[in-house]
Symmetry: none
Subunit: 193 residues, 4 copies
DNA sequence: TATGAATGAGAGTTCATTCAT
DNA sequence: GATGAATGAACTCTCATTCAT
């Protein structure tokens, strides 16, 4: 039941935003009563936080899996970027939940959200640090670089939503261009692709 | 009076977000009555849009000024990044306003906001295209690259807000690291700094 | 609880009119919270419509009961007129609600109100048509006649409200005079009372 | 200038009702500034009252003119009824201003409005009393009869507004049927038409 | 005289949350 | 555990009226 709630909440928060999404709507969409909703989560903010945590977990798992398979950094980068764009095609606007979160749209949650995003960025930073150690990418501030990468990818994917001509073009050219930009920002000094 | 309203609205929207900011609060903070507020702007959404437009205008003016002075692309990049970080020190959390906008937090404004951000991104894209023509940066999709740069910078500056240790570190290291990342993502093939 | 709301709303709308009656006042008068009010009715207009429907229903039931008892047309007329005047003594200024409705005081409700009044007038028209068939009243356009009768009665009862000398006189003489006027307007050619 | 204001106000009040008509709208429609509007009338209620007075005056003048021409009561009745219906075709919904007034839609004006309507009804009653004296119509309570006639006519003309089939039928059949009903309600005992 | 910028009380409505059942 | 009726603070927006110019 928690899962159904989180699935519905995640979808709604991502599509409509925190304030536009009502508890009644979440309950209805999840097929539970409001009472049940409040039985599982003490407040709307906790629902949001839980949905967000679930999304982070999914992404991180994906990135770690790729990394563990031993793919080179550039390949991991390319695949993660593609993952972001693909998530637009699949679950609609799923990828946005995270985007909403770190802009502090949610009132009393700034600290909790910052911490959550930090955890995610730090996980990315650890992957980057490993890649630096192996000499696959150039040395730089790992956490800063992680934040930069997240913003870079999210900004472009955000523009890829919609039915207009530009959005379609971004969907077509985005994955390659973004992966290229990210790779060039990171690649070691001496090598040229 | 319009200016005082936009100043107050810009600050509040940036700090609190669209939904957490009430018209009463804007009026009080600007030192005007609600009536006066509605005398100048027909709705809350228009206030938001106007505040956002003003901010974009400020940024764009700054970037154009730098560019017109004939500075090399890398230098413009460095200075614009610094501008973003500096705007955190000045106007408080000013930089957030733009970030909030393009996440579609505001109900009936998606189209207007997208258009506004597009206008800004296209202005950036034109600067990039000029730099490409001069051979100062490598050839790439100008609009996509513009969006990527905006996201990259905004994501990091967003983390630079706050009193915690990491934020302080980001404020210290951010300008240099971000400028470096952006430059590397853009620099021409043959040259290495 | 719905009944208490409708009772309070009917009274207030009748006394004060649609625009002068606030939802807060209705809630207070009915002894419920605003929330409860909106729990039962989606909008102020729906409250008004429901109160009006209830009033129509009461009147129609009364008229049908009299008719079903087999009373002659003139007697039904007399009793219905008396019913209108009596409703002033009981429910206060109840009779006004209907009067307010068909003057289109309520913004988006013209069509709904017209339909409601039409339903009532048509019910009256059906009774009139039956009486015509039996030769109890003269042949005429039933619906037009129904509207005429409603207006005739309502106009006089409206003047019967208040503490002034004329109102008192209208309350005293009204029932008889109105019934007489209505009857004469309707009675068959050949007969004279 | 007062006349232009009253013309605009009369039209708007009649079409939209008292509360839906704003002072700004009246000013705009009359082609004067709000300041000027308040220069000529101390409040919205006074504007309404003045517009209403003007309308009453117009009607009464018409009825008196007919009467003075020495037409028989039945003919006066017929022509006044037609006047009401015709006023729908001309000035739009002009005829309604009076209808709105006597339903006490206007807050602090009940007494003033009642008095105004009474003045009108009494003028009608005087005409009726004269006709009774001449034996043209049967003896009855003149004021009550006046109110009854007004209501009868107004109720039917109110239904004649609109584009639906019934409204068209009412416009076509109404004048004759209403005049017939009114005449029968009033005609002397011994005569049959 | 004439203007319209400015006022602010009050309107209808929403929605996270509670609690008796 | 589960329900959903009930709550009420807070929201955006309207508009009759005032008053400095």
């Amino acid at each position: 039941m928690e899962e159904r709630i989180l699935a519905a909440a995640g979808r709604l928060f991502a599509q409509e935003g925190f304030h536009r999404t009502g508890m009644r709507r979440i309950a209805a969409e999840a097929g539970v009563s409001i009472g049940a909703l409040y039985h599982y989560f003490p407040s709307k903010e906790e629902v949001f936080l839980a949905a967000l945590r679930a999304e982070y977990e999914r992404w991180l798992a994906e990135a770690r899996r790729l990394w563990a398979e031993g793919a080179p950094a550039r390949e991991v980068l390319r695949q993660v970027v593609e993952l972001h764009f693909a998530s637009l095609a699949r679950g609609g606007e799923r990828g946005f939940l995270v985007g909403r979160a770190w802009h502090g749209e949610v009132p009393g949650l700034r600290k909790a959200l910052l911490a959550l995003r930090d955890r995610y960025a730090q996980a990315v930073a650890r992957l980057l640090a490993q890649a630096m150690d192996r000499g696959e990418i150039r040395r730089a501030h790992p956490l800063l670089t992680a934040y930069a990468l997240l913003g870079l990818v999210e900004s472009v994917t955000a523009r890829a939503v919609g039915g207009d001509r530009v959005a379609a073009e971004v969907r077509r050219e985005g994955p390659r261009e973004v992966a290229e930009l990210a790779w060039r920002a990171l690649q070691p000094e001496e090598v040229r692709s």
